[in-house]
């Protein structure tokens, strides 16, 4: 381990670490809390829950988000659910099992202590959300309902139709707005953080741009929490919101915060396929659908060709001519294998020529089987002894509609095809980034006073995140981790008076931001920001996507460097910097993506193994499964930035004391 990376994992048994630590972590007395200022960037699950919780404790909090309201953060779009080890189903769940599933699902590239803590607090999250009025799905007895998700064999996922993220975020947002109303939080909507201010290596504030007026603002904070989400939009097309970006995290990185495992990207298997060049984003179809759907392609190539040419319909293909490839390859987990495995299997079939849409990049997600099963169950419930096929289908569709109605409607809206009658067409798309800012057990980056929470950090999901665990982590970090761990730092800050923002460090940071903006405005080239973003996205998707190899990654690095140069010579940012200017906002973000992309390729190139979402073609088993190299790569790759886009690799060794690491098998 390099001395620069101290993970600060507490001593003691795994089960005791968190309980003991949070009972002994230094406290800040209420009077002192009132004079300690915390800046929170981002208002998603992590940011909103942290803001509400810290304000309740008495800290002075400011929250910044680039959208027009805190309620718009992209956590809102999470569909399927949130995991918690409640064992309400009596099906063998426990804290240990959630911990184990998460470590295994992450292909043994996450920290044991962090993941165990996550599993421990997961149950509190559900309690907290219910108490704050989140209307989770319930059974007729009035108790909470659960569903299954990938990579697990228990039902531990709590949900609210296909809008779980929305309900959780609105719950956290309510808590945040309550504190705004009480004067404990000051909200800065339509503001984007563009620089971290450090003094003597310690984080002391930020520079933010008011997106309505274009004014640059200086804000002092005793601590700064980056809750800014992931960087999936480096691929241009992803399931992220249009505004999701890496800028805040990247500015922190360039100020010295290390970026960990940047190449660990999650490609989600069930998204609506790309329809044309105009495509601006991809839409996810929740993983919960895999619970009730079966994924297949034709077993015969001629059928796939006929489908692509629109000569036959999917329902014309006979049962015996269908290849339910996930059930075939992974009988134990079937359609519920983890995301990385399911995505690669879809790619493998499509690459082999079995894709079912005009581009050849789609597979079927079919609900016919379970529609009939549900229909039969309804018939039995109603005492119908000889229901007709039509009656069965009708009753079955009603059940499917109740469970997934909003997703089916969304599918029909986007594709113009009715998914109750024909199987959905789906294909993998970029969805989540497991990598992020390196943090210690306290969620602090290697810059004192600068924290990263939720998707913005790297810590819990290893090389692959399990479904319904992002919401869990965001709320765990914000509600139950940071309120304790921030005390370990802030108790030493009680003597630090608010630093006036005319301090030279603030002036220099603001000038730097102004310089970048002036430079972008001054290029006056010929191509739009999107033109460059789309080209970057293609390089990343083709060379640093679902499958990677050293030759293509090496090429990608030089292509990105060339593209970056072109961008800085030929981008055109219309309008003025001193007004609302969405093109300028995009330009600033894409400039950062153009640097991040290179680091991702570098990280992927350095990691000579396959693990989770990182699949290097050179490192696979005979059956085409990921082949890890625990001897040489059982570490967190933390990259330190140096001027001129060069990086130094630091390694944090991962120690497994409680889990026996093995080849991940879902067969």
């Amino acid at each position: 381990m390099t001395s620069k990376l101290d993970s600060k994992i507490p001593e003691g048994n795994l089960e005791q670490k968190w309980t003991k630590y949070r009972s002994t972590v230094p406290l800040v007395n209420p009077a002192n809390k009132r004079s300690l200022e915390v800046l929170i960037i981002g208002s998603g699950l992590a940011g909103a829950s942290a803001a509400a919780s810290l304000a309740e404790l008495g800290y002075k909090v400011k929250v910044f988000c680039f959208q027009d309201s805190a309620r718009r953060a992209h956590s809102i779009a999470a569909q399927g659910g949130i995991n918690a080890a409640k064992n309400y189903q009596n099906d063998g769940d426990s804290t240990y099992r959630l911990f184990y599933d998460t470590i295994k699902g992450g292909d043994y590239r996450a920290r044991e202590a962090n993941v165990y803590r996550l599993a421990e607090v997961s149950a509190n999250i559900i309690d907290q959300c219910v108490a704050s009025g989140v209307p989770f799905a319930r059974e007729y007895g009035g108790l909470l309902s659960n569903r299954s998700f990938g990579g697990t064999q228990v039902q531990r996922t709590f949900y609210a139709a296909g809008q779980t993220g929305q309900q959780l975020l609105l719950g956290a947002y309510s808590g945040l707005q309550r504190q705004v109303g009480m004067g404990n939080v000051k909200m800065y909507a339509r503001h984007e953080m563009l620089e971290v201010v450090t003094i003597d290596g310690v984080c002391r504030g930020i520079i933010a741009r008011d997106l309505t007026t274009g004014n640059l603002e200086r804000h002092f904070g005793h601590a700064v929490l980056l809750c800014t989400g992931g960087y999936g939009n480096v691929f241009y097309l992803s399931t992220n919101a249009m505004g999701s970006n890496v800028t805040a995290a990247w500015k922190a990185h360039k100020k010295g915060a290390m970026m960990a495992n940047p190449c660990f990207t999650q490609i989600h298997p069930t998204c609506i396929p790309v329809s044309g060049d105009h495509q601006s984003k991809l839409t996810l179809m929740s993983e919960s659908l895999r619970n009730d759907g079966r994924i297949w392609v034709p077993a015969k190539k001629e059928d796939a060709v006929a489908l692509r040419e629109n000569r036959i319909k999917p329902n014309d293909i006979k049962e015996e001519d269908r290849d339910y490839y996930l059930e075939r390859r992974y009988p134990a987990f079937g359609n519920l294998v983890p995301r990385d495995v399911a995505s690669r299997a879809a790619k493998e079939r499509c690459d082999a020529g079995f894709g079912v849409n005009k581009t050849g990049e789609a597979v079927f997600l079919d609900f016919a089987f379970n529609t009939i099963r549900y229909g039969n169950m309804e018939a039995t419930k109603k005492g119908m002894h000889n229901p007709t096929q039509d009656q069965i289908v009708e009753m079955g569709r009603a059940v499917v509609k109740e469970k997934y109605g909003n997703l089916f409607d969304m599918y029909q809206q986007i594709t113009g095809v009715n998914p109750y009658e024909q199987p959905m067409m789906i294909y993998p798309a970029v969805h989540y980034t497991m990598g992020g800012l390196w943090v210690d057990y306290n969620l602090m980056t290697n810059i004192p006073g600068l924290y990263a929470l939720g998707e913005a950090n790297f810590s819990e999901h290893g090389a692959n995140r399990l479904g319904a665990s992002a919401l869990m982590q965001g709320l765990a970090d914000g509600y139950f981790v940071i309120p304790y761990t921030i005390g370990a730092y802030l108790n030493k800050e009680i003597m630090t008076k608010a630093i006036p923002t005319d301090h030279e460090a603030f002036v220099a940071a603001e000038n730097k931001v102004k310089g970048t903006i002036d430079q972008l405005m001054g290029i006056k080239g010929t191509k739009s920001v999107d033109y460059f973003h789309k080209r970057l996205g293609l390089i990343m998707w083709n060379k640093c996507g679902m499958a990677r190899n050293s030759e293509e990654l090496t090429k990608a690095i030089s292509e990105i460097q060339a593209l970056r140069k072109e961008f800085w010579n030929d981008v055109r940012v219309p309008g003025d910097a001193n007004e609302m200017n969405p093109e300028l906002e995009k330009a600033v973000r894409v400039a950062d993506f153009l640097e991040l992309g290179e680091l991702m390729c570098k990280d992927a190139l350095t990691r000579n193994e396959s693990c989770g979402g990182h699949f290097r073609e050179e490192f696979q088993t005979e059956e085409g499964e990921a082949m890890r190299d625990d001897e040489n790569y059982k570490y967190v790759a933390a990259w330190e930035y140096f001027e001129g886009n060069t990086w130094e690799l630091h390694k944090e060794d991962l120690v497994y004391e409680n889990i026996k690491i093995a080849q991940r098998s879902y067969k």
């Binding site: 992209h74 309400y88 007729y140 909470l144 929305q166 105009h278």
Partner: protein
């Protein structure tokens, strides 16, 4: 199947809050019916940028109908001609070749225009701050299943809670009333046992804030619910009125 459209767009352009604003007409050609309405704007903006003109500013983020940020008033209807969807989910197959489409921002004095099609909806956040919550601090909760809630109540509460706060209800209303938005939040909590302790105070304070923001009165025309992308029901307004009256009659204040 996919085909291409040639369209004429009349779009509201307004440089900033002080500018008077006016319609500009743009021809857009070869628009695929598979495109979303916002992707058509992307294509137009791309062209404007290359031509050295200023692109049209509009709010949008998730582009999957849930964040509530997109807000275009299309041919006289918030979020356009289709029932139960947001602007970002509207696809061009809902239009015909040769159509003229008029696009405006939300029109309501509590939602002032910031630029072009972008308006300021922070009044909604202030209404939530006034009472749209259950006052519980982190860490105070009992076990989630200690409080059984009848499924029908939970489902009805969820239906109210699915409001995305886009403001289409206000834009659709001839009085610019925010009753549907406010009542959805009031209902969500009124239907749950957790919401009972603050039930009266909540409705009084949210309504007071709504009034002070300058939203108009409700005259029961129902345009809000008809145009709501999440099809929030008018019954929530009835529930809120009932709660408000009973709170007013029984309130000690």
């Amino acid at each position: 199947m996919e085909k291409n459209l040639n369209l004429s767009l009349k779009v509201w352009r307004q440089k900033n809050a002080k500018d008077k604003g006016q319609f500009e007409t743009y021809k857009v050609n070869d628009i695929s019916t598979d495109m979303s309405f916002l992707e058509m704007f992307d294509v137009l903006n791309e062209r404007l940028i290359v031509e050295g003109k200023e692109p049209i500013a509009f709010d949008h983020d998730c582009r999957e109908g849930i964040c509530g940020m997109c807000s275009m008033f299309i041919n006289g209807r918030p979020h356009g001609p289709k029932q139960g969807i947001t602007t970002c989910q509207l696809h061009m197959r809902s239009f015909n070749d040769g159509d003229t489409i008029v696009v405006e921002p939300w029109r309501a004095s509590p939602f002032p225009v910031i630029k072009d099609l972008v308006v300021d909806r922070t009044a909604f956040d202030r209404i939530i701050s006034a009472g749209g919550f259950i006052s519980i601090n982190t860490g105070n909760a009992q076990d989630a299943n200690a409080l059984p809630i009848p499924k029908d109540d939970a489902d009805e509460s969820f239906a109210a809670a699915s409001c995305i706060g886009c403001g289409a209800c206000v834009a659709a209303c001839k009085n610019a009333s925010a009753m549907l938005f406010v009542s959805a939040k009031v209902s969500q909590f009124a239907l749950l046992p957790q919401g009972q302790p603050e039930r009266k105070q909540r409705v009084m304070e949210m309504v007071a804030q709504m009034d002070s923001e300058g939203f108009g009165s409700c005259t029961n025309t129902g345009a809000c619910s008809a145009e709501c992308p999440k099809e929030i029901s008018l019954t929530h307004i009835a529930r809120m009125n009932r709660d408000y009256i009973s709170a007013e009659l029984s309130s000690a204040k």
